[in-house]
Symmetry: C2
Subunit: 355 residues, 2 copies
C-alpha cells in the first residue's frame, strides 16, 4: 500500500525546513519498508500569489482531497500579501474545509535544548495542547461600519457550536485517558460572557462521562502565568482555537524554542487528509539564511507517519532527533550553535535507526 | 484639600490584602501630609450577593461617582455566584461606566523575588502593559441558539471603535515617549480577520504622528513566547482588552509571582474616579489563610497616590517594598518564605520614609 503525500513548502523558512523534514521521513520510510509517494505544490505561497493573484488554484479542494496527508511548511509574507489574506486563503481554509478539527501540539522539554525556566530539566515539562481548529474566535464573520469616519467601528463574531465544542473536548478526554488522566481546560468565562461559559458548561457535562479523568480549569490569563511558574502541573490541555494558538506557542517557548514544536491538524474521521506542519511560521526575519531549526518540521513528519499507522517509524525519528539534540554537537543558532538548517537535518536523518 | 477614597475589599484574599494596602497608603499620607478620607463598602462581594441577590446597590453609580478614587481588592467566589455574573455586575461595570479606558500594568523584576527565568536579574525586565479596558473582546454582546439541542450554538461579538482604539493607542504612544520611545503592539491579524487588522491599521496611522517612537508588532501567540524568551525586548506594550489581560498576568509571572503586580484602571479625563487594584483575583484556593502576598495591593495604593498628584508619597511606598523584598527577611509563601500577609504589610508600612 502506498501513502500519497501532498507537500506544500509555502513561504520563507517553510521552503528551508520542508526538505529537511522530508529527508528524515524518507529515511525512516526506507528503513521501515514504508511506501510513500510525494507530490509537491507551489501554491499557498507569496510567489504563487504574485503570479496568480490568489493563494490557491480554483480546484485546490479536488486536487488535495484524495491525498492521505499534507506535509506543510509555513505561509505568510506580509510584504507581498497581508497575513489575514494569505492565511485565510490557505492554511485556515485547509483546516476548515478538510474538517481538521483537532490541532495536536505536544510540548516537551528536550535534552540538549537550553531551558529558559530556571531549575527545569527534561521530564519536568511534558504535556499536550489539544486545540479546537475550525471555529471559535477564528470565525471570519464580521465587518466595518462608518468606514473612514470618527464613528468607525469593527465587529468580529466568535462562534462555538455544540458539535464543534463537544468533539474537541471528547478528543481531549480520550487523550487524557491515554496519558495521566488529567485534563486542564483553558477558559475566560469571567470576562467573555457568552462563549466561554458555554465552553465550561460542555467541559463539565462531558466530564461526567469520564469520571476517571481529573479536570482543572483556569482562566487564560492565569493559565499562561502557570505555564511559566508551574509547567509540571499540565498533562493534557484543551483550548479553543485562539487560546490553543497562544498556549501552543507559549508552551514551546517554555521549553527553549518554538523551532522544535510540531502541529498535527487532524481529521479523526479520515474523510479528508490531515495536515502536518511546524508550529512556527515563515519567519521573514531569518528566511533565506539557512539557519532555521528544522526539528519542528521533522517532528511534524514523525507525527504524520504515526497518523498513517507507522508508530515504529515515527518513534525512530523522534528518538533520532532527541539523541542528536542531547549530543549537542550540531545546533542551529536558536539552540546556541552555528549549524545550518541542513546540517541539523542531515544529522537527524543519519541518526535514524531501524530498531 | 481632602482626597476621598472609596474602599471595596470584595471577596477572598481581597479582604486580606486591602487592609495591608491601606496601612501603607495611610502611613505615606501621614509622612507626606496628605489628607485622605476613606469610606468602605461591602458591595461587590459574594456576601452582598447572598443578602441582596445582586452585586451592587441600585444607586452604586451615584454613590461612587463623586469619589476621587476607588481602592479595590478582588471580586469572585464561584461557589456562590458564577464568575461572569459577579464580574460583569461589578468590576467590569466600574471600568465601563466610569470610562476607565486605560488599564496600566507595570511589570518589573524586583530584587528579592525569585526569578523563574534562568539568568534574568532585576533591571532585565521592566515594561509597562497598556491595556484597553472598556471594549474589544469584553463586549457582553452575544447569545445562544437552539438551546439544549445538538444544534446548539453560542456567539459573542468583539467590538472595536475608532474612538476606543485611538485613545488607548495614543495613550500608549505618549507613555512610550516618556520611557524608551519604543512601543510593541499585540495583534493577531493573521487569524482574527476583522478586528485585529483594524487594530494594526490604527496603530500604523497614529504611529505617523509619533515618528520618534519605534513600533514593533507581534501576533499574540509569538508575543507570549517572547515574553518568556526575550522579556528585555519590551518597554511599552499596547494591547486589546483580552490580549492585555493575558499579557499582564504572564508578564508578572515572568518576574516570579503575580502577587506583586498592580493595576491602575484610569479615566484620564478625570470625569469619573479611577480604580486601583492588584492584578490577582480573589484566589479562593488560598483565601482565609492569611498568606496572600499584599505587595500587589500596596503597589496599587502607590499608583493611586501618584494618580492623585502625590508622586513623592507614591515613590516612597515603592521604595519601601523594594527594600523589604530585597532584604528578604519577611517573605510570604509565594516568595519562598513563611511570613503572613500582615507581617509583610506591616514590614512595608514601617519601611516607608519621608524623604
Ligand atoms: C476578573 C476578570 C474579569 C479580570 C479581567 O479579565 O479583566 C481580571 O482578570 C483582570 O485582569 O483584571
Ligand atoms: C498563521 C496563523 C494563522 C496560525 C494560527 O493562528 O492558527 C498559526 O499561528 C498557527 O498556530 O498555526
Amino acid at each position: 500500500m502506498t501513502h500519497t503525500i501532498a507537500v506544500i513548502p509555502g513561504d520563507g523558512i517553510g521552503t528551508e525546513v520542508v526538505p529537511e523534514g522530508l529527508r528524515s521521513v524518507r529515511r525512516a520510510a526506507e528503513l521501515f519498508g514504508i511506501d510513500l509517494s510525494f507530490q509537491e505544490f507551489d501554491f499557498a505561497s507569496a510567489a504563487y500569489w504574485q503570479q496568480h493573484g490568489r493563494m490557491l488554484p480554483e480546484d485546490w479542494f479536488e486536487v488535495l482531497q484524495g491525498f492521505d496527508a499534507i506535509y506543510f511548511g509555513a505561509v505568510g509574507w506580509p510584504d507581498v500579501v497581508p497575513d489575514h489574506v494569505s492565511l485565510w486563503e490557505s492554511l485556515l481554509q485547509f483546516r476548515r474545509r478538510f474538517d481538521q478539527y483537532v490541532n495536536l501540539r505536544p510540548v516537551r522539554l528536550l535534552p540538549g535544548v537550553p531551558a529558559p525556566l530556571a531549575g527545569r530539566a527534561p521530564g519536568d515539562i511534558d504535556f499536550l495542547v489539544v486545540r479546537e481548529n475550525t471555529e471559535g474566535e477564528y470565525s471570519s464573520i464580521g465587518g466595518r461600519i462608518f468606514e473612514g469616519t470618527e464613528r468607525e467601528a469593527v465587529v468580529q463574531e466568535t462562534v462555538m457550536t455544540r458539535t464543534g465544542t463537544d468533539r474537541i473536548v471528547r478528543f481531549a478526554f480520550e487523550q487524557a485517558q491515554r496519558r495521566g488522566n488529567h485534563l486542564t481546560s483553558a477558559t475566560k468565562s469571567n470576562g467573555i460572557s457568552h462563549t466561554m461559559p458555554y465552553w465550561d458548561e460542555r467541559v463539565a457535562a462531558l466530564g461526567a462521562e469520564y469520571p476517571d479523568v481529573r479536570v482543572d480549569k483556569y482562566h487564560i490569563d492565569i493559565l499562561t502565568a502557570n505555564f511559566v511558574l508551574h509547567p509540571d502541573w499540565f498533562d493534557v490541555v484543551v483550548a479553543s482555537n485562539l487560546f490553543g494558538d497562544i498556549l501552543s506557542d507559549l508552551g514551546p517557548a517554555c521549553t527553549g524554542t518554538i523551532g522544535v514544536a510540531p502541529s498535527g491538524n487532524i481529521n479523526p474521521t479520515g474523510a479528508f487528509p490531515s495536515l502536518f506542519e511546524p508550529v512556527h511560521g515563515s519567519a521573514p526575519d531569518i528566511a533565506g539564511r539557512g539557519i532555521a531549526n528544522p526539528i519542528g518540521q521533522i517532528w511534524a513528519g514523525a507525527m504524520m507517519l504515526d497518523h498513517l499507522g507507522h508508530a515504529d517509524a515515527s518513534a525512530a525519528i523522534v528518538d533520532a532527533f532527541e539523541r542528536v539534540l542531547a549530543e549537542g554537537t550540531v545546533r542551529t543558532p536558536d539552540l546556541g550553535g552555528t549549524a545550518t538548517c541542513s546540517d541539523l537535518g542531515q544529522a537527524v536523518a543519519e541518526a535514524i535507526k531501524a530498531s
